[in-house]
């Protein structure tokens, strides 16, 4: 069997996508149909056609609002990932620091973080810092847990092999632990990406006058449900794009890895 054959077999087949796409189209069509047949008022539940039109009324700066939210989410995510990775390194390399930091990390994780949002604004004021901090809190935890697992959960034989060759702990870290943690890190990043969007929206709910979160809240006050749905659609697309981005980056950086 040649390598090309092995590769090809792992490539997803186009046929596999047909059913989910069909299911999605049928769902949208049913939604439109029900809204029209039962004459559901748009302020209660707008049909897809109305949502599609809302982007072209010119009353809302969709691109601008989307960029605000996306900027916050990405900025917070980058910092959250850096902080998460640093903490993962620290708790893996030092058993003592692991024990000292763990209660705080776990406490922060079991706490519904959205509940912290209003308090963050009391402490830090209505600033970008408090918004970003909320996103960091929402994203760093999955990175810490996944990365530290990956750094620790190595093939013991490989460690023995390197030790038998008189390799230092530093060499074992660079040659075994770090590369081993990469797939785990990417799993954490997948969770972190959705956390970043949640964080951005909640932050805007609480303290902003711009962004998609603010737009949704504002739509609620003005009964412009269609605009809120317009924001949902954008958020869904953003979430999908970010998630797909993580998967593509993972494939690019780890051609050697296939889940399961």
């Amino acid at each position: 069997m040649s390598r090309a054959t092995i590769r090809r077999r792992n490539r997803p087949r186009l046929a596999g996508y047909a059913l989910p796409i069909l299911s999605f189209i049928v769902g949208i069509a049913l939604w439109e149909l029900i809204c029209r047949v039962f004459k559901v008022p748009a302020f209660l539940f707008p049909p897809p056609s109305a949502i599609a039109q809302i982007y072209f009324t010119g009353r809302i700066d969709w691109v601008g609002q989307t960029l605000v939210t996306l900027n916050e989410a990405l900025f917070g995510l980058v910092i959250g990932v850096a902080v998460g990775f640093a903490i993962a390194l620290v708790i893996t390399l030092s058993g003592v620091l692991n024990k000292i930091l763990m209660p705080y990390i776990v406490a922060l994780q079991v706490l519904p973080k959205v509940a912290i949002a209003p308090i963050l604004y009391i402490i830090l004021g209505f600033s970008d810092t408090s918004r970003i901090l909320l996103i960091v809190i929402l994203t760093f935890f999955p990175i810490v847990i996944n990365t530290s697992t990956g750094l620790a959960d190595v093939d013991r034989n490989l460690v023995h092999l390197l030790k038998a060759l008189r390799a230092s702990d530093r060499t074992i870290f660079w040659k075994v632990r770090l590369p081993n943690s990469l797939p785990y890190f990417f799993d954490g990043l997948k969770i972190g990406v959705s956390g970043a969007l949640v964080g951005a929206i909640v932050a805007e709910f609480v303290s902003s006058s711009k962004g998609l979160g603010f737009l949704i809240l504002n739509s609620q006050y003005t009964f412009n449900t269609t605009a809120a749905f317009g924001a949902f659609v954008i958020l869904t697309v953003l979430g999908l794009l970010l998630y797909a981005g993580v998967i593509l980056l993972g494939r690019r950086l780890m051609p050697w890895y296939r889940p399961n």
């Binding site: 390598r3 092995i6 590769r7 093939d155 034989n157 490989l158 023995h160 092999l161 390197l162 030790k163 038998a164 060759l165 008189r166 390799a167 060499t171 040659k175 075994v176 590369p179 081993n180 990469l182 780890m254 051609p255 050697w256 890895y257 296939r258």
Partner: protein
């Protein structure tokens, strides 16, 4: 002949988390001569792998001494594990390169030579995930030889490989050991594998692991699959099997006796 490794009255006692002491190895003495292959055969959990780790210097024995010959400079081991244990993030070429890298050796031409030898030319850039189980074992064998170690330690190298593939791999491994004039130590529970590959076989007892018998294999150094049907092959296998069976029967008796009222 000079001994590459001399194990003298070595013992290994572990302390469990609960604080109990477990004697894994007791009073082990054996030597491995240069360019010789010895096998250790024994039941599961008899401490065979522990002995390999002690010889490799990954762990330190709690009793006795291990002498390692350093006449060619450094004492370096090659390691073959049960499940290949390749780095999945490295290609075939880079996996084999690992020991050279760690030891700061630059003779990378050895890598191509070994890839040729294990019949994997064209697969240099393949990742382990793209290889069959048998191919992965070959790569792990090449990795164990590339840096010309003082001794190659093999821990159940072909467990979980189907019978025919296994016989093929054993032949390749034997050829590799002889062609490279390597010294090797094999730990296995597969009696035929031990006979086919080694010059001497040590039979080990259940925990605490002790050496209960040394069985010489009277076959020529150059071995091929046809030797599996030679009288000497059967004789050696029979002796090892009988010794293992006797111990097994004894432990079954003991268990039955303990259960009696």
């Amino acid at each position: 002949m000079t001994a590459t490794v001399a194990v003298e009255k070595v013992g290994m006692t572990y302390t469990t988390v609960k604080g109990d002491e477990v004697v894994a190895l007791q009073d082990i003495s054996l030597s491995i001569e240069k360019e010789e292959t010895v096998a250790i055969v024994g039941p599961s959990g008899c401490g065979k792998s522990t002995l390999l780790r002690l010889i490799a210097g990954v762990e330190k024995q709690t009793a006795g001494r291990i002498e390692r010959a350093t006449d060619e400079g450094q004492f370096v081991v090659g390691y073959v594990f049960q499940d290949s244990s390749l780095m999945r993030w490295r290609t075939v070429y880079d996996n084999i390169k690992l020991p050279l890298e760690v030891l700061n050796k630059r003779n990378y031409d050895k890598i191509d030579e070994l890839i040729q030898m294990i019949g994997m030319k064209g697969f240099e850039k393949a990742y382990p995930i793209e290889l069959s189980g048998g191919m992965q074992r070959r790569v792990s064998i090449a990795r164990a030889f590339v840096h010309e170690p003082s001794i190659v330690l093999m821990d159940e190298p072909f467990t979980g490989v189907d019978e025919l593939t296994k016989e093929g791999l054993q032949h390749e491994l034997g050829t590799m050991i002889r062609r490279r004039h390597a010294t090797a130590m094999l730990v296995t529970h597969d009696i035929e594998e031990a006979v086919f590959l080694s010059d001497r076989i040590f039979v080990m007892s259940r925990r605490p692991g002790r050496i209960v018998e040394e069985v010489p294999v009277n076959l020529p150094a150059d071995r091929d699959p046809s030797m599996r049907s030679k009288l000497e092959f059967f004789e050696a296998a029979k002796r090892v099997r009988e010794r293992l069976l006797a111990m097994h029967a004894m432990s079954v008796d003991l268990e039955a006796g303990a259960g009696a009222p």
